[in-house]
């Protein structure tokens, strides 16, 4: 198991995924694509937790439970975010973040 794959490979992969998500979060203007970038970020954090748990503390299960809770939080966050997005679309007929600025003083 895990023969020949150091821990650092997993961490570097998760880092790249995280910052690709950050890039998408900064450049995208559609609310749903921003939500997809946030999902990428949360997913990369999960990879980190699992790799740390398996490589450094294989006799415990903390990383796995944190990942389970992160997945649950991500699922509820996606549900509420999509409800808000649909409501915004019904009110403004657009989900472009630059057009949805009514609460801006």
């Amino acid at each position: 198991m895990n023969a020949g794959i150091p821990l650092q490979f997993f961490l570097i992969l998760a880092t790249i995924m995280f910052f690709v998500g950050v890039y998408g979060f900064l450049t995208r203007r559609n609310l749903i694509t921003i939500l997809m970038s946030v999902e990428l970020i949360l997913n990369s954090v999960n990879i980190n937790f699992m790799a740390f748990n398996r490589f450094l503390f294989p006799h415990k299960m903390e990383g796995m439970f944190f990942s389970i809770f992160i997945i649950a939080v991500a699922a509820s966050e996606a549900a509420v975010a999509i409800a808000i997005i649909i409501n915004i679309y019904r009110r403004f007929t657009t989900i472009n973040v630059e057009d949805v600025n009514e609460m801006k003083y």
């Binding site: 895990n2 023969a3 020949g4 794959i5 650092q8 997993f10 570097i12 992969l13 880092t15 790249i16 995280f18 910052f19 690709v20 950050v22 890039y23 998408g24 900064l26 450049t27 995208r28 749903i32 694509t33 997809m36 970038s37 999902e39 990428l40 997913n43 999960n46 990879i47 699992m50 398996r54 490589f55 450094l56 294989p58 006799h59 415990k60 299960m61 796995m64 439970f65 990942s67 809770f69 997945i71 939080v73 991500a74 699922a75 509820s76 966050e77 996606a78 549900a79 509420v80 999509i82 409800a83 808000i84 997005i85 649909i86 409501n87 679309y89 019904r90 009110r91 403004f92 009514e102």
Partner: protein, 178 residues
């Protein structure tokens, strides 16, 4: 190079390539499908790490649940053939610089840190131990976060219904102002 490494690099290449395509694709439905590929490859990584339960959760909840939810909302809110305008060059350059700087700092830190693994034997992660830990009050128990996450899920469910349900008449004045 053994089969493990080959599989890891396959998954890594899929994840990196499709993550980049997710955040740069100009068609939103394709971006959602690329996100699905990323999530499925991530579950492959969990299988490689021998966490079968979490890989199954990843497949059913992320790849099955969240991506389907996102695709539904895409179909409700945008035209399939609509293409985004490319983001402004200045924005792209500065975002890429910020992301690359963060990635370089994190990767150099990872590469210079000496990780100390414990010598203890690995425990078998099966459904029995997961269920016992989730509902136990002992030092390895997670009953409090379990209860908190249950309340969070109920609150999120009610909130989603309340927010998205059809309210009174939509004010038209907001649209005419634009």
């Amino acid at each position: 190079m053994n089969i493990n490494q080959i599989m890891f690099f396959l998954f890594a290449v899929i994840i990196v390539v499709f993550s980049v395509m997710t955040v740069t694709s100009r068609r939103i439905l394709r971006a959602a499908v690329y996100l699905l590929f990323v999530l499925v490859s991530t579950s492959g990584l969990y299988f490689m790490l021998n966490y079968q339960f979490l890989a199954a959760i990843q497949l059913t909840l992320y790849a099955g649940g969240i991506v389907v939810l996102i695709i539904f909302s895409i179909l409700l809110t945008s035209h399939i053939n609509q293409q985004f305008e490319p983001a402004g060059l200045k924005k792209v350059i500065f975002s890429a610089l910020a992301s690359a700087a963060g990635a370089i700092v994190a990767i150099t830190t990872i590469l210079s840190f000496q990780f100390q693994a414990t010598e203890k034997a690995a425990t078998e992660v099966n459904m029995h131990s997961i269920g016992m830990s989730l509902l136990s009050l002992n030092s390895d128990g997670y009953v409090l976060p379990f209860e908190v996450i249950s309340i969070l899920l109920i609150a999120a469910m009610i909130a989603a219904i309340v927010i998205a349900k059809k309210g009174g008449p939509v004010k038209q004045s907001n649209n005419s102002n634009q």
